[in-house]
């Protein structure tokens, strides 16, 4: 039950946040942070999970289709859930100091808490469809948070870019999940039959789609472009969503599927995608001048490491790196938040020597940055060693990329720290240390960075974390020690430091080289080209169709129907027709006469009367076929429609007949004939159903299940109640639209764009008639 509570609490707090935000302003964060306490309370089940295995909890949701809100805390999920809750708690505390007085606090905290709940749910979900739901929810909340300062164009653009890319991945995930459930025989991650799944034909497409989703969410090449622009979000959001938690959702997915990936070609592909991302991310991070952009590209690079490690099956090293990265990157982001807040700038070129004015901030930043650089005695050193060891086993190319990437990582880490050292330079003269409540929430994270390195033994700190995840991956926790002895990995680390220092010192020529190598095309220009193309295409479609007259619209729609009918004729011939009773034929002729009459009518009034003839003819058919309900409905609809038409008749223009070119007339006749044949085929197909008729079921159980003798009505309100609900919703929408159109018309002056509005009335009346007529 604690599991459910841990997930539900942030959602519940999100409901309160608007009110607290109004009452307390930014300080609401101190109260709302409590929403993550149940999540932190998961610590109490750590022992149980370690001794007795995964803890499960589930709530029924849609029992008739077997959909359950099923959650499962195995070691890995539990570890990550603790990270989400812990960092979320600190982020909310930090936000209380970070947000200005004039921000929309309620909205910010609502989004952030919704995200927190969704992330907890995503991590702990066992049912794959639930996992997909939470996955999408994190994308949406991320969109809302990136675009939080929606007055800025860059924010809106960044938010949209993130949403487009991650939602595209989300769609892929949905299909992947369906395929996995089909192939694995269960919609639960824990219940998947891995052997059957690997042999099923769904395996390869499912894996491709799942990896697509994971790469887009975790900003792997070539989807890395959304992460740097997502940095338009407020800094607590960048720290929480775009470095510590959400961007790792894709990594989590790869980690959870690592048992499936193992031993396939996918594992190799994932390894190289990860390494390429690691290299490219750190290469780009090196040339950034905005501190936040530097960290963003660094995050891309570190996510590459995680993907490479999980992909190559080295879950132990990956998990250690994941924990370390969450700690040091969140710290660094929050430090940038303080620097930005106190100095008003994030530009590396304008800042230096800040250590004198912001000594405590520097104290927090130095271990985190050194951990990122992979220096002892911090956690990052240990996981970097593990990374090198893992890559050494993968061959010479992986280790080469790993070392080059790490050299650049070292250089940009040093570059990040350079803002604290050297002569004091800043645009704002009166810079002073931030208030305690501002830097205090960072302190636990910075402490974790130090502790992860200094106490790197099993059952403590990072060792304990990775050990917790061990049963999920079936690895045995090796003792994590700072000093492994003079191994190859250590030699490579030393090499990294030397080359990194050299790169930092020689950064000017290197930067010039980078600038010269900048390609004219990159992922971003491609994204904007695609987006622009899509916009032009849709604008073209709209321009080409919206301006067209009613006749053209009708022609297009009917032609499409005719094509479908022709295709169905081509696929299979309709079964033979049974001879209808003679009185039905007579009624049918009546309908036909009405239809022909409408075509031939010279005035609107006679057309209306002919239309009524067709309508009453169909009522007669219903009556002859012993369907009194349908006949009654049809009669009423005809009556109401005819009277409605008459009541607006005098406002309608004179019916003008347009002559059309012979070519067009021939085409129209062809379309009309095609539509007629399509409907005819459809009716014949219904006559001889492929499967058993469902009507027998309705007739048999109408009394016992629905409690009524009138089968039609029981179908409407009971068996097919959901359909009816949808239909009356449509009806209500029609009512509201007509109301809006006509009210606006009545209120407005009589000139202006009266034409379109006036025509809407009778048109909608007729639409409504069509809706009802199916009853």
């Amino acid at each position: 039950m604690l599991l459910i509570l841990a997930i539900a609490a942030p959602f519940a707090a999100a409901l309160l946040a608007p009110f607290l935000g109004r009452a307390l302003g930014a300080r609401a964060g101190w109260v709302l942070a409590g929403a993550f306490l149940p999540g932190l309370g998961l610590l109490t089940i750590v022992a149980e999970v370690r001794s007795a295995g995964p803890v499960e909890a589930s709530l029924p949701w849609v029992p008739t289709v077997g959909l359950e809100l099923a959650f499962r805390a195995d070691g890995f999920s539990l570890m990550f859930a603790l990270l989400v809750a812990g960092i979320g708690f600190l982020i909310l505390l930090y936000s209380a100091s970070y947000l200005g007085r004039l921000e929309r606090h309620g909205r910010f905290y609502t989004y952030l808490l919704l995200f927190g709940g969704a992330m907890m749910g995503l991590v702990l979900a066992d049912n794959m469809f639930i996992l997909f739901g939470f996955w999408e929810l994190t994308s949406i909340t991320s969109y809302l948070l990136i675009g939080f300062w929606d007055g800025r164009r860059a924010s809106r653009d960044g938010a949209l870019k993130a949403l487009v890319i991650t939602a595209l991945g989300g769609l892929a995930l949905l299909v992947a999940v369906i395929l996995l459930a089909l192939g694995g025989g269960s919609d639960r991650l824990s219940g998947l039959d891995l052997i059957a799944l690997k042999e099923s034909p769904y395996f390869v497409p499912a894996m491709i789609l799942a990896l697509f989703a994971a790469f887009s969410k975790s900003a792997q090449l070539p989807f890395h472009l959304w992460l740097p622009t997502a940095m338009e979000a407020p800094t607590p959001v960048s720290a929480y969503l775009h470095s510590a938690t959400m961007v790792k959702a894709g990594v989590i997915l790869i980690a959870k599927f690592s048992a499936l990936l193992a031993g396939t070609d996918f594992a190799t592909a994932v390894l190289f995608f990860g390494l390429a991302t690691m290299f490219w991310g750190s290469y780009l991070a090196l040339r950034q001048t905005d501190l936040k952009a530097l960290l963003a590209y660094s995050t891309v690079s570190q996510l590459g490491i995680l993907v490479a490690l999980y992909g190559s099956g080295d879950a132990f090293a990956a998990t250690a790196q994941l924990v370390n990265h969450a700690a040091f990157k969140a710290t660094l982001f929050l430090v940038v938040g303080i620097i930005d807040h106190e100095t008003g700038s994030r530009d590396l070129r304008n800042l230096s020597g800040l250590g004198r004015r912001l000594p405590l901030t520097m104290l927090l930043a130095v271990p985190a940055a050194l951990s990122m650089a992979g220096l002892p005695p911090f956690g990052g050193f240990i996981s970097k060693e593990l990374f090198f060891e893992g890559m050494l086993q993968q061959g010479s190319l992986p280790i080469l990329i790993a070392v080059i990437g790490s050299v650049m990582t070292f250089a940009y880490s040093v570059r990040f720290l350079s803002v604290f050292f050297g002569p004091y330079r800043c645009d704002r003269p009166d810079v002073h240390e931030a208030a305690p409540q501002f830097w205090l929430p960072i302190a636990p994270l910075a402490a974790a960075v130090v502790v992860f390195g200094l106490i790197p033994f099993e059952n403590t700190a990072v060792g304990a974390f990775t050990a917790l995840a061990a049963p999920s991956f079936g690895y045995h926790n090796e003792p994590l020690a700072l000093w492994h002895g003079p191994t190859v990995a250590f030699a490579l680390s030393v090499l990294t430091w030397f080359l990194g220092t050299a790169l930092y010192i020689g950064r000017a020529p290197f930067l010039a080289l980078q600038r010269r190598l900048t390609p004219r095309w990159n992922a971003n220009t491609l994204y904007y080209a695609l987006l622009g193309g899509l916009e032009r295409l849709s604008a073209g479609v709209v321009r080409g169709t919206l301006g067209a007259g009613f006749a053209t619209h009708l022609r297009l729609i009917l032609a499409a129907i005719a094509v479908v009918g022709a295709l169905s004729w081509w696929r299979f011939l309709p079964p033979a027709m049974t001879t209808p009773p003679i009185e039905v034929v007579v009624a049918g002729l009546l309908i036909a006469a009405g239809a022909v009459g409408v075509l031939a009518a010279r005035s609107r009034l006679s057309a209306l009367i002919f239309m009524g003839l067709a309508g009453f003819g169909s009522a007669l058919v219903f009556l002859l076929l012993r369907a009194p309900d349908l006949a009654l409905t049809q009669l009423l609809i005809e009556t109401v429609t005819v009277i409605l038409f008459l009541s607006v008749f005098r406002y309608l223009p004179v019916l003008t007949r347009y002559s059309r070119p012979r070519r067009v007339a021939a085409f129209d006749a062809l379309v009309a004939a095609g539509v007629g044949m399509t409907v005819f085929t459809l009716l014949l197909a219904v006559q001889n159903p492929v499967r058993d008729r469902i009507s027998d079921f309705f007739i048999e159980f109408s009394k016992s299940i629905g409690g009524g003798n009138n089968v039609v009505n029981v179908i409407l309100v009971d068996f097919r109640g959901y359909d009816t609900l949808g239909e009356i919703t449509v009806l209500a929408i029609v009512a509201v639209s007509v109301l809006a159109l006509l009210r606006l018309r009545v209120g407005a002056s009589t000139d202006g764009a009266a034409g379109g509005v006036a025509e809407a009335g009778p048109d909608d009346g007729a639409d409504e008639g069509d809706d009802d007529a199916r009853g």
């Binding site: 849609v62 008739t64 067209a548 007259g549 009613f550 006749a551 053209t552 619209h553 309900d629 009654l632 409905t633 009423l636 609809i637 109401v640 009277i643 409605l644 009541s647 607006v648 005098r650 406002y651 223009p653 004179v654 347009y658 067009v664 629905g706 409690g707 009524g708 003798n709 009138n710 039609v712 009505n713 029981v714 409407l716 309100v717 009971d718 109640g721 959901y722 009816t724 609900l725 009356i728 009806l731 209500a732 009512a735 509201v736 007509v738 109301l739 006509l742 009210r743 018309r745 009545v746 009589t750 009266a754 034409g755 379109g756 025509e759 009335g761 009778p762 909608d764 409504e768 009853g775």
Partner: protein
């Protein structure tokens, strides 16, 4: 806005209704409403139901409109639409509160002291929602169109050759 509408309704309409029509409109109207409710109530077992009853009542409203410029209901009919929808959804949600699924229906027999044995089905409530939506939508549209009488006759048909 309601005041406006009342003012408009007294405006004499061109081609005033015939005197017979005028005289008979009211009794027929009430008869139609009664038939409508009858059809609604018997709907579960004989031809009828919310859709049909809604249309009958709407037709009677139309009659009232044409015959006597009579408003069938003094309430604002557009509000029937959301309430009807809400009733239908509530009927669907109610079983969920008892641990059953959305729109699951129940039915049974009820013995009343005077009326004797009565058959009931929760679907009737759902049907009542359908009835309200149909009545609300139709009468709203009819009333709005009747209001439109100030609208000038349009000069040109907007249809164009595509």
């Amino acid at each position: 806005m309601p005041e406006d509408r009342v003012a408009e309704t007294v405006e004499p309409q061109p081609g005033a209704p015939e005197v017979f029509f005028k005289a008979l409109a009211t009794p027929i109207l009430f008869a139609l409403v009664a038939i409508g409710f009858h059809y609604f109530l018997r709907g579960h077992n004989a031809p009828g139901g919310g859709f049909i009853a809604g249309l009958i009542v709407a037709a009677s409203a139309l009659l009232g409109r044409m015959g006597r410029d009579l408003r069938l209901l003094t309430i604002r009919t557009e509000f029937l639409v959301p309430w009807g929808l809400l009733l239908a959804v509530a009927t669907g949600v109610a079983p969920m509160l008892f641990g059953s699924s959305f729109l699951r229906s129940v039915h049974g027999h009820l013995v009343l002291p005077l009326a004797g044995e009565l058959e009931w089905a929760s679907a009737t409530l759902f049907d009542a929602g359908v009835f309200l939506v149909v009545v609300g939508t139709t009468i709203t549209i009819i009333d709005l169109l009747a209001e439109e009488n100030r609208l000038q006759r349009l000069g040109e048909d907007r249809e164009e050759e595509g």
